[in-house]
């Protein structure tokens, strides 16, 4: 399950610049309920280190500055790869469930 959350984060970030809390809320909105929200931060730290995402600090209307994440070209690439891998995996798993051999 590990790489899957990474892929979902990349996909959400690719749509528009988001900050941490927004990201967690969107994940929940899509149906991720059983994880603790903070889990995204170690992943975001790693994706920054691997230069898949970059961040900028922006002022917010209420409270302190927010850190907004956006995808780098490398991140776009990673997301593309993830999507292919995911659809392959999905087909394979479905084949298993439907007892469909190639």
């Amino acid at each position: 399950m590990k790489g899957i959350l990474d892929g979902c984060l990349l996909s959400i970030i690719s749509e528009k610049e988001v900050y941490g809390y927004e990201l967690a809320e969107k994940l929940e909105g899509y149906g991720f309920h059983s994880f603790s929200e903070g889990t995204i931060y170690p992943l975001l730290l790693r994706m920054q280190k691997e230069e898949l995402v970059t961040s900028t600090l922006k002022k917010s209307t209420a409270g302190p500055k927010r850190k907004y994440y956006s995808l780098t070209p490398k991140g776009e690439n990673e997301l593309k790869q993830f999507k292919t891998k995911w659809s392959d995996l999905q087909t394979t798993v479905n084949n298993v469930f439907n007892k469909k051999t190639l």
């Binding site: 809390y21 603790s36 903070g38 170690p42 280190k49």
Partner: protein
């Protein structure tokens, strides 16, 4: 809306996280960044009625480790602390010895101090990580800090003791060398104090060395003098710590 206060649990977690990452040797700017980010996340989540556990999970320790694993260790900062502590140890030793005339140190004393200081930093950071990531009783915490104080002290005594039976080359400073060393030490103590905005180092040095020296002028039995100077030393340092703690609050 603006003055929303974090729950006690979240506040404690944020403070502990800072201590944990700091004592894991992470870069200060990176610590600031992730701590502020999490703080505002917790704030927004709590405004919407979520609990601390909803964000960080059931084990703060595990979560701190996860974050720490993704952050680089800042060896430059580690080195900085090491140099400051080492220099502090030497400064306090030199100030204490200078009042008794020309100074000289054996290689064993110098090498021992370097090793003990390194050990002390590692031990300190280990205790900090332990105290910040686990729920420990006050008794256990007290014991850990007691160990932290007693272990280097014991090792220093051990070195002094060993120095009497093991002969290693001795570096003699001579009269002029002693004056120069004293001058450099003074400049260092003042410099560090200004840089760190605290006078703790020179004050500790003064309380460790002056009582014995000043009491030496009074006609007193050696035992009484030892007892009195020890009392003045620790009471003085204690009073200073209490005073500065109150002032910062």
């Amino acid at each position: 809306m603006k003055e929303f206060e974090l729950s006690k649990r979240s506040q404690t977690f944020i403070e502990d996280l800072r201590v944990y990452l700091f004592s894991s040797g992470k870069k200060e700017e990176e610590i600031d960044e992730i701590v502020t980010e999490l703080e505002s996340h917790l704030m927004e989540a709590e405004k919407r009625g979520k609990s601390t556990e909803d964000i960080i999970g059931k084990s703060p320790k595990k979560y701190m480790e996860q974050l720490s694993n993704e952050m680089k260790i800042d060896y430059k900062t580690w080195l900085k602390y090491y140099v400051i502590i080492i220099a502090g140890v030497f400064a306090i030793t030199i100030i204490g010895d200078i009042l008794n005339g020309p100074i000289s140190y054996s290689l064993l004393e110098i090498g021992g101090s370097l090793v003990i200081s390194l050990l002390f930093i590692m031990l300190t950071f280990w205790v900090f990580r332990l105290v910040s990531s686990r729920t420990l009783t006050y008794g256990v915490q007290g014991l850990l800090f007691f160990l932290l104080a007693i272990v280097p002290l014991g090792l220093f005594f051990g070195i002094e003791f060993a120095d009497r039976s093991i002969t290693t080359p001795v570096i003699e400073f001579g009269t002029i060398g002693t004056w120069v060393a004293g001058g450099i030490t003074m400049i260092f103590l003042i410099g560090v104090s200004i840089w760190a905005k605290t006078f703790i180092l020179p004050i500790v040095a003064a309380f460790l060395t002056l009582p014995e020296y000043l009491l030496g002028f009074i006609n007193m039995e050696e035992e009484a003098m030892l007892i009195w100077s020890t009392i003045i030393t620790y009471a003085g340092i204690g009073a200073y710590l209490l005073f500065s703690l109150k002032r910062t609050k």
